[in-house]
Subunit: 312 residues, 2 copies
Amino acid sequence: MKAINEELTFYDTASPTLRDGEVLVKVAAAGVNRGDLMQAAGKYPPPKGESEIMGLECAGVIADPGATDREQGQEVGCLLAGGGYAEYVAVPEGQLTPIPEGLTVEETAGVVEVACTVWSNLGMVAGIQEGDRVLIHGGSGGIGSFAIQMCKAMGCEVAVTAGSQEKLEYCRELGADVLINYKEQDFAEELPEWSDTILDVVGGPYLEQNIKALNTDGHLIVIAVQGGPKGTLSLGRMMPRRLSVHATTLRARPRPMKAAIVASTVEHVWPLIEAGKITPNISARFPLADAKKAHEHLDSGANTGKILLVVS
Amino acid sequence: MKAINEELTFYDTASPTLRDGEVLVKVAAAGVNRGDLMQAAGKYPPPKGESEIMGLECAGVIADPGATDREQGQEVGCLLAGGGYAEYVAVPEGQLTPIPEGLTVEETAGVVEVACTVWSNLGMVAGIQEGDRVLIHGGSGGIGSFAIQMCKAMGCEVAVTAGSQEKLEYCRELGADVLINYKEQDFAEELPEWSDTILDVVGGPYLEQNIKALNTDGHLIVIAVQGGPKGTLSLGRMMPRRLSVHATTLRARPRPMKAAIVASTVEHVWPLIEAGKITPNISARFPLADAKKAHEHLDSGANTGKILLVVS
């Protein structure tokens, strides 16, 4: 089969063989994520024992159900530890999702990873509820734009940061209530002790401001450290307000934990997608052979939606 | 009535008047806590609207049940936001505990605050389970010695740090499995990625080592910052292991939250006390009038047990 390796080369390789509990999926399309850029840069290796082929999410049809009760031909979305940039991929059954009603198989390829990332953190770690105030950094990115829609659909008040008026306007269209241009404003001064939950991708440089921006019993969840891995933490400020800092990644989790996340995401988030409250925004499509171009497009920072590799 | 103010003066003042949901307790004894030392030093003011009289825990008998269904003469333990260093104290009903079977009223006065502090953090925040590995800093102190016994009673493996062989030997007698003299050993090098939960009272200076010492999905809980309020946090190290940092205090919590903590503590910890698995160690008793001497005794760092003020 054809696939894309970490050098982003389009090459021929053997189709994957199935291990216990896995099904073989014929890939229709794969989503391109920031984690893929990091992996291609040598900074985000796949977990031990997982595919060396690129790709953290895809959708397609089951070509071989293996020893599971699944049926050949069933359309599925797939959360992957790797292997999505290929014609075929082996997927643990617990990491399969249905295709949400109203979405195409191709669109589903761009939804699985972001939905599981956002729900596992905001829903399962922070436990956001109707009426909560959520601050989302990088609101116009793939994670941010999904998180805005999900939080609004759940009845939260949403503040976002972004680096231009254009990106902030896009966040407003998605439902954001409070818009902060981080190049002109200090979010901790604008929203002191405001946020019940903060979803952060900046990391170290934002740590002190994030603590100032948290409300009593608030949660800071860091899912990327694009600004740097280390920062100063004021435990003294955290204690009287009982704050928590969580840092997570999705990819490194063991399979049973991923299966639990996929099940909870399908239970809580798929209905919001099917009700039209969260709309995937596919902004660009590239053929699988052009993965390198797709990566360059994401890396340029120009796009405000999801980039797909179309396979079949 | 007689009471002790923040200057540690023994003085005459009016008995407290009851507010909604409060009972009046005639104090038999009050526990002396590190928080009291901080308050007397002007660094830990009582929450708004709470008593200016010292004292975070006591036990005694109900002198006036107010509008509650309690009975006059009932013996109770009391978790307080203040007011325990006195002949009478007004206590929200939700902050009353029964006297554990096998303990005297006086002994109960030295158990309530520490039990609620340890359980609310290790049980309710970290969710420790049988088989978990727990690292307790300052193992020979009031919090530490209670936490060692509770964790062992729950089937956890327990490591402790302390500053002398004598203190470590005391921790071993309480059940600690792994003993670390922090003056001679680096706990993060001794126990890398070992701890499912860490209970810390040092704060900033231990933050980087605590992160190194946490196991995957581990929780660091900081309940005091005796070494300093700020430290360096490596979010990059936290992400792949999905670590959390929590910082809490008990005193600042609103009354309904305190009531929930007291209820959960009585449900989960009182049976361990009644089964003899957690034994309070009362090391010194002072009359109420000698509160200043009791504080000096705690501040000297020489004692390894609980200090009580005996009132009636």
